[in-house]
């Protein structure tokens, strides 16, 4: 029988929630890495027991953790406990993220006040394991860049073409920092990768990362001097259905958007949403036209409108939305749902999951019709991923 494993990153550690295919009873494991911020965890599609985690701290910097047994045991790749041979220093590199300044000189980016600011590594926001190779993982970085490991996380190298695009001085941080938070691998074309940066916009490579192009035509953002500029849009998240890799859905700062041509052109599909501000967006595992968002009141009030936590579902690929509320708090709810904190499983009755800044992780085993809180009182949830296990 199938089962699911929900990987939850929080402000104070990681939690792993497991259930059988009914998704009614849950086992909770954690906190792992107690006290540390876990920005993201994700398992390899090739080897689901291999899970990577981004562990960060303002004091101690970036750490990458890896489990090879489904999250029971963890280690920092390349940092074996044993001493190196006499006379040799250990050379762990799993937490070494150094920009490739030789290939793409470290420039400056735009600061909040419009002045230029040095590019500095802060943390890893997102880990995207390869669809083919369990040792290959992409990492989305703040300050924005994309890195790659091909040795299971022992060492990381920047893919410099993105930062070297030439538009870096126009990129600027959002409230959470200048982060590359979304990485989408095209399952049909190994050379095509989509990424998104807050606040620069979305980019696409069609040659495995050598060159990148902005894909922001059709976006309109009132908070930049030219609302339709090629660069500067605060994209919050992008989602794709793997069977239709050319169709993308985007939750921008404001506006829910759709592209049917791999991001070359976007059109707004906010429709009848009560507000089109929000962070998460995801696609039903078995219905490529069914998408989910969680509307948030505004960019200055990061909580649901009217104190009602509502997931909105469109079965028409946007424009026509219905509120899903059964089992969700419908009064006095003032939590947020951050950009990487929604995921779907692959079961026939597609499960939808999301975590809140109030520490709840909600699950729906029936595509959003009904919801239950798997846990109520975790630290603020930063990310949610789901593995469907057979």
């Amino acid at each position: 029988m199938s089962s699911v494993r929900v990987l939850v990153g929080t402000r104070k550690g990681a939690f792993i929630l497991t259930s059988d295919g009914k998704r009614q009873k849950w086992d909770v494991s954690g906190p792992h890495f107690a006290g540390w911020e876990i920005y993201h965890m994700k398992g390899s599609p090739v080897d689901p027991n291999r899970i990577f985690a981004s562990q960060t701290s303002g004091w101690f910097g970036q750490v990458i953790q890896r489990s090879d047994d489904g999250g029971k045991n963890w280690h920092q790749p390349g940092t074996a406990m044993e001493m190196p041979p006499p006379g040799e220093m250990p050379k762990p590199g799993s937490n070494k993220f150094v920009y490739d300044a030789a290939a793409a000189p470290l420039t400056t980016h735009q600061w909040y006040d419009g002045t230029q600011h040095p590019w500095e590594f802060k943390r890893v926001w997102h880990l995207e394991p390869s669809l083919k190779d369990p040792d290959t993982v992409y990492a989305g970085i703040e300050d924005a860049a994309i890195f790659k490991t091909t040795d299971g996380g022992n060492s990381w190298k920047e893919i410099p073409g993105l930062r070297g695009h030439g538009t870096g001085p126009k990129w600027q941080p959002g409230a959470g920092g200048m982060c590359l938070h979304t990485i989408i691998l095209d399952p049909k074309d190994p050379n095509r990768i989509y990424i998104a940066i807050s606040a620069a916009g979305a980019f696409r490579t069609d040659d495995g990362g050598k060159s990148w192009k902005p894909i922001n035509r059709g976006l309109r953002s009132q908070y930049i001097p030219n609302p339709t500029a090629e660069i500067g849009h605060c994209v919050h998240h992008v989602a794709m259905h793997p069977q239709r890799p050319g169709v993308l859905f985007m939750q921008k700062h404001w506006d829910v958007m759709r592209s049917d041509d791999a991001g070359d052109n976007w059109r707004e599909v906010s429709g009848n949403l009560p507000t089109d501000f929000g962070f998460v967006i995801d696609v039903h595992a078995n219905e490529p036209e069914t998408i989910y968002v969680v509307p948030i009141k505004s960019d200055s009030e990061h909580y649901p409108p009217d104190g009602k936590l509502r997931v909105y579902r469109s079965r028409t690929g946007g424009n026509e939305w219905e509120a899903l509320t059964k089992g969700l708090p419908q009064k006095d709810c003032y939590v947020n749902v951050l950009r990487d904190a929604m995921a779907v499983d692959q079961l026939d009755d597609c499960g939808i999951y999301f975590g809140t800044t109030g520490g709840q992780v909600y699950a729906s085993p029936d595509a959003g019709e009904t919801w239950n809180a798997i846990v109520h009182d975790l630290p603020a949830v930063l990310s949610v991923e789901v593995q469907t296990l057979s």
Partner: protein
């Protein structure tokens, strides 16, 4: 034998409880202590000193013998009490409440 106290989060990473002890040949300095610490516990590389620059991370401080040694030169000798193991070399996080 040099005694070193590291913050709880780093003890978790290094999988140690309490103080760490190190054997150092030659001069006992911030640099030689941290080099020995990272050699024995490679998972700490990059967490106290930046991987790229080798400089102390901004929110960490170094104390010993009731003195703040944070801004001493990395190759300056540490107090005799640290070199003899009478007093520990303390790495700690700057006080901040955080989120």
């Amino acid at each position: 034998m040099i005694r070193v106290i590291i913050p709880p989060h780093l003890r978790t990473l290094a999988k140690v409880d309490g103080e760490v002890t190190l054997q150092i040949e030659g001069r006992v300095t911030q640099r030689s202590v941290l080099d020995a610490l990272e050699a024995k516990y490679p998972m700490l590389m990059g967490t106290i000193r930046d991987h790229d620059t080798g400089k102390r991370r901004a929110f960490l401080r170094f104390f010993a013998c009731e003195e703040d040694l944070t801004h001493e030169l990395p190759d300056a000798p540490l107090p005799d009490a640290v070199a003899s193991g009478k007093e520990p070399f303390v790495v700690l996080g700057a006080i901040a409440g955080g989120l």
